[in-house]
């Protein structure tokens, strides 16, 4: 069950990722559309996902956000199951370094509605407001038009193309790296 609200946009809310969300995270991370776009080369067990959530919690430099669609009047803290629907997650890693690194994914059933863009924009704002990072990095495979379009729409600049750096879904793929500097976010 998602935790308390951290931030809210027009349609999505960001809630704390709890240990109990392992099943939802596992289901999505196993889905080929999510798995391949994240470069996850093997599925994970519930126990592994739970362990990862716990490691993220203990890691000083990592902030995890569960992307949720709340019903009207959903409780800010510990909502009931019928009050909110988790649809994805955004993670910011290295918030204690020069540049934080963003990772995100959305349940394929909810793709195409702009939820990811709304959620990532909220996290970008949260990271720049809460941590004195100089910039934020993110990456996507060359074939992932949706993810690249999302980053470009938020003002990220393409900074590097690592050729054939990953083997994903039967072929070698380029990794595209993006960056957004604080001064660009401010303007």
């Amino acid at each position: 069950m998602p935790g308390p609200i951290i931030d809210a946009g027009e349609r999505v809310t960001l809630r704390a990722v709890e240990r109990e969300d392992a099943e939802f995270v596992q289901t999505c991370a196993t889905h080929p559309r999510v798995r391949f776009s994240l470069g996850i080369d093997s599925h994970q067990t519930k126990a592994e996902v739970r362990e990862r959530i716990e490691n993220d919690t203990e890691n000083e430099g990592t902030r995890g956000f569960l992307v949720c669609l709340d019903e009207e009047g959903a409780a800010a803290g510990d909502p009931d199951e019928e009050e909110t629907t988790p649809v994805g997650a955004v993670h910011a890693r290295g918030v204690d370094r020069e540049r934080a690194w963003l990772g995100y994914w959305l349940d394929p059933d909810y793709h195409g509605e702009g939820y990811a863009g709304e959620a990532v924009e909220l996290v970008v704002d949260a990271v720049f407001r809460s941590h004195p990072v100089h910039g934020i990095s993110a990456g996507a495979y060359g074939f992932n038009e949706a993810s690249r379009g999302l980053l470009e729409s938020l003002g990220f600049t393409q900074e590097a193309r690592l050729r054939n750096a990953w083997y994903v879904d039967g072929a070698y793929r380029d990794g595209i790296q993006y960056g957004l500097l604080r001064r660009e976010w401010e303007s």
Binding site: E98, R99, A160, R163, Y167, Y172, Q177
Partner: protein, 209 residues
């Protein structure tokens, strides 16, 4: 010279003039380990526990450590622990760069191959300032690159360097690596944010070279 991945830093190197008022580092070293691969003037030798003092002195030298992305001192105990970690790790290969021009080999730097399970493992390297400018970096890294492609079923190699670090970038360009991008202001070093450049070399590019 070097890259930022894994336990050991890796940003490559330095073009600065030596300005060494330190004891010549080579004199601190016991007999280096056995030869693993050879170049014309250099050999890549196994890293032994006794090399901790040499490696530590290199990492703490401002003209080396800063270019590697190191921002805190490294004790000899830490250097020893890093050597031990690498011994038990099949995914990383570290080798001592030694000049073979006399009776005894002279250690002058270190090269490293990291994340051998990745599609493109990462290389990093450093050469002591007093030995820079002689092409030793290019020779040592060239031997490492040949070893990497010949011994491992990898798609390519990659490396990062601080953009202002001409010596390190020059090594990659000499060896036919392609500039794949530049992360703006990505690291804080020497009192300012500097760009980090990415380089890559694919197997067919290595074969053609």
């Amino acid at each position: 010279m070097a890259a930022l991945s894994g336990g050991e830093p890796s940003f490559v190197n330095a073009t600065h003039s030596p300005e060494t008022d330190l004891v010549p580092l080579s004199h601190l070293c016991d007999m280096p380990g056995t030869v693993f691969r050879r170049g014309d003037r250099l050999a890549l030798r196994t890293v032994e526990h006794e090399d901790a003092e040499f490696i530590q002195r290199g990492h703490n030298h401002p003209d080396v450590g800063v270019t590697l992305g190191l921002n805190r001192p490294e004790s000899e105990t830490e250097a020893e622990a890093n050597i031990e970690d690498d011994e038990g790790d099949p995914l990383n290969v570290g080798l001592l760069v030694c000049l073979e021009d006399g009776d005894e080999p002279t250690p002058i730097g270190k090269v490293r191959l990291s994340n051998l399970h990745h599609t493109r493992p990462e290389i990093s390297y450093w050469i002591l300032p007093e030995y820079q400018g002689e092409g030793y970096g290019t020779e040592a890294v060239g031997v490492l690159v040949d070893y990497a492609f010949n011994a491992h079923e990898i798609r390519g190699l990659q490396a990062q360097a601080f953009a202002p670090n001409e010596g390190s970038v020059g090594v990659l360009e000499n060896l036919g690596f392609t500039h794949e991008g530049q992360l703006r202001d990505a690291r804080f070093r020497n009192g300012e944010h500097v760009d980090v450049v990415w380089y890559g070399l694919l197997r067919e590019e290595w074969e053609d070279d």
